[in-house]
Amino acid sequence: MRAVLNTGRNVPQGVAVEHKGSPDYRAAVSVCHMNPVDLMELGSNEGGHVALMSRAGSVVLTTRVAEGMNRGEVFVPLGPYANRIISAETHATGMPDFKGEPVDVVPTDEPVMTIGELMESIGGVWYDH
């Protein structure tokens, strides 16, 4: 399914934002909110996994039904998962396209990466003490 990615704040993300290594933060920001009809047409159920692919990369997320979403649009809370698929291009404004990145959404059985795995995949070393 072709969709437009919207990212932004929500309460679970805000509550856990100072605990980036916590399961709560991971659960809050590794979700893909979708219109229920889109989810049905995709052949997936709430809680299933989808891969989102953009010009910048791909990421696996857990689906969640969001009645208020327009069809053809998906919402991912801001954070390291959403930023996996946001391009760093700013069109000379300084601001990336955090809202409006075109993505392909496909069901997958792949697991959702941990924050540590995400950061290590771009050269980081996880600190967990």
């Binding site: 919207n6 932004g8 704040r9 605990h19 979403m69 760093a88 601001m95 990336p96 950061m119 050269g123």
Partner: protein, 429 residues
């Protein structure tokens, strides 16, 4: 012990009426605050001591060593980037700007990925804004455009708009009309009197259509604009024109969507048009507690609110070139100092990845997603909890953060001052 009138440092509302119950060095209860305030104040994810990345993992080091190494890294760099600054107080931000000037560095703050485009629009056409007190006491029409205050600024509606009783608005819910414009039917939309659901990325067209209606040129509009029936826009324009005092608040739905600063410019120009009929104001909903302060501090020292480049020996400002994401995307900086922010989580990964390739130093109280990318991290106090200082609310009103806990951590302003002094000592300046 209960500490009264604590300022919450989390978001740009800077609510200054929290009661915080403290037992020794632990916050056990937060009253009056929202869910976000409670989590921010009661959370405990502090980094215990400075850490340095080694070949096999991490080791603890002393503050003295960490400060010396930070100064050495920054002095050795050709193009250092100093980024963040929005979750600390103005005193630390000020020292950061002076370090940037000493080094000939680029200094940028989090508005670069937040309301930077709003600032660009304001620089083009001005800012017909006002304080939140004016909105609370006068506004009978409130518009939230491209924002979701229920989740991002949970007390904005109860302190200043929808549910707040004001001097000229004695019965808030009856006297105020609330209009929400968004691409999603959010919780904020659910409590609006009028909800306009726009097709993604088409805010500019809807703003232009409303301007046309307010100008008396509505007859030229097509039946539908961005998925919205023309009749709804006529209705909303009439509500706005009949207002005694209207206030527009906008969020990242305008700054991050296609059009970016041009969307905000069009919203400001709609406000301008509405002022031919009544009083109308417009203001951004600012995110980080003191992001507005970072714009203020940068501006009064350098003349520019963010993305300031000292490489020429003078302050130079060109968003799109001197902004943090662009500098990182181009792989241009060869060292980075990150203070009070988390680009590891909030920058596109291609930009964040460059931080792991260069010596990056992080000054932040918490273990964040930037921690794994940095060469060393120094923990510090949290402004508004165990450090006092000045912050600016989203409407530009300065508010003094209280210090209500003692801690063994150094204030980030003190860490930065030591780095500053070390740089001056080595430079002989």
């Amino acid at each position: 012990m209960i500490i009264k009138d604590v300022v919450c440092p989390f978001c740009g509302c800077l609510c200054d009426d929290l009661d915080v119950e403290v037992d020794g060095q632990t916050i056990i209860k937060v009253q009056n605050g929202c869910t976000l305030a409670e989590a921010a104040l009661t959370g405990n994810n502090r980094l215990p001591a400075p850490i340095r990345r080694t070949a096999t993992g991490w080791e603890e080091i002393s503050f003295d060593d960490a400060i010396r190494e930070t100064a050495d890294i920054l002095l050795a760099a050709d193009r250092p980037l100093l980024y963040g600054w929005s979750s600390t107080h103005g005193e630390a931000q000020s020292i950061g700007v002076h370090i940037a000037e000493l080094l000939g560095a680029v200094i940028d703050n989090t508005s670069t990925v937040c309301h930077g485009p709003s600032i660009l629009a304001i620089q083009e056409v001005g800012h017909p804004g006002c304080t939140l007190g004016q909105v609370k006491n006068r506004a009978d029409v409130v518009v939230y455009w491209g924002c979701n205050p229920t989740e991002a600024h949970p007390r904005h509606m109860s302190r200043y708009t929808t549910f707040a009783t004001g001097f000229f608005v004695p019965e808030a819910q009856k006297d105020r009309t609330v209009i929400v414009v968004d691409t999603r039917r959010t919780e904020s939309a659910e409590i609006a009197d009028e909800f306009i659901q726009i097709e993604r990325g088409r805010d500019y067209e809807v703003l232009a259509a409303l301007r046309a209606i307010v100008r008396g040129k509505g007859s030229i509009l097509p039946r539908e604009i961005a998925g919205i029936a023309r009749e709804q826009l006529f209705r909303v324009a009439e509500i706005c024109m009949k207002a005694k005092f209207g206030a527009i608040f906008f969020g990242l739905g305008l700054t991050m969507s296609s059009g970016k600063y041009k969307n905000v410019r069009n919203a400001i120009e709609l406000t301008d048009e509405l002022n031919r009929h009544t009083k109308f104001t417009i203001s951004p909903l600012r995110g980080h507690g003191n992001v507005y302060g970072s714009n203020e501090v940068f501006t009064w020292i350098t003349g520019y609110p963010y993305a300031v480049d000292f490489a020429r020996g003078i302050a130079f400002y060109n968003p799109g070139e001197t902004t943090a994401v662009d500098i990182l995307r181009r792989g241009e900086c060869d060292a980075a100092l990150i203070v009070a922010s988390d680009p590891g989580a909030h920058f596109p990964h291609a930009a964040a990845a460059h931080l792991a390739k260069i010596p990056t130093i992080l000054i932040d109280p918490h273990r964040t997603a930037t921690t794994p990318l940095c060469r060393l991290q120094m923990p510090c106090t949290m402004a508004g909890i165990d450090a006092e200082g000045t912050a600016y609310r989203m409407d530009g009103v300065p508010i003094r953060y209280k210090k209500f806990l003692e801690s063994s951590y150094p204030d980030d302003a003190d860490i930065l001052k030591r780095i500053h002094d070390r740089i001056r000592e080595v430079q002989g300046s």
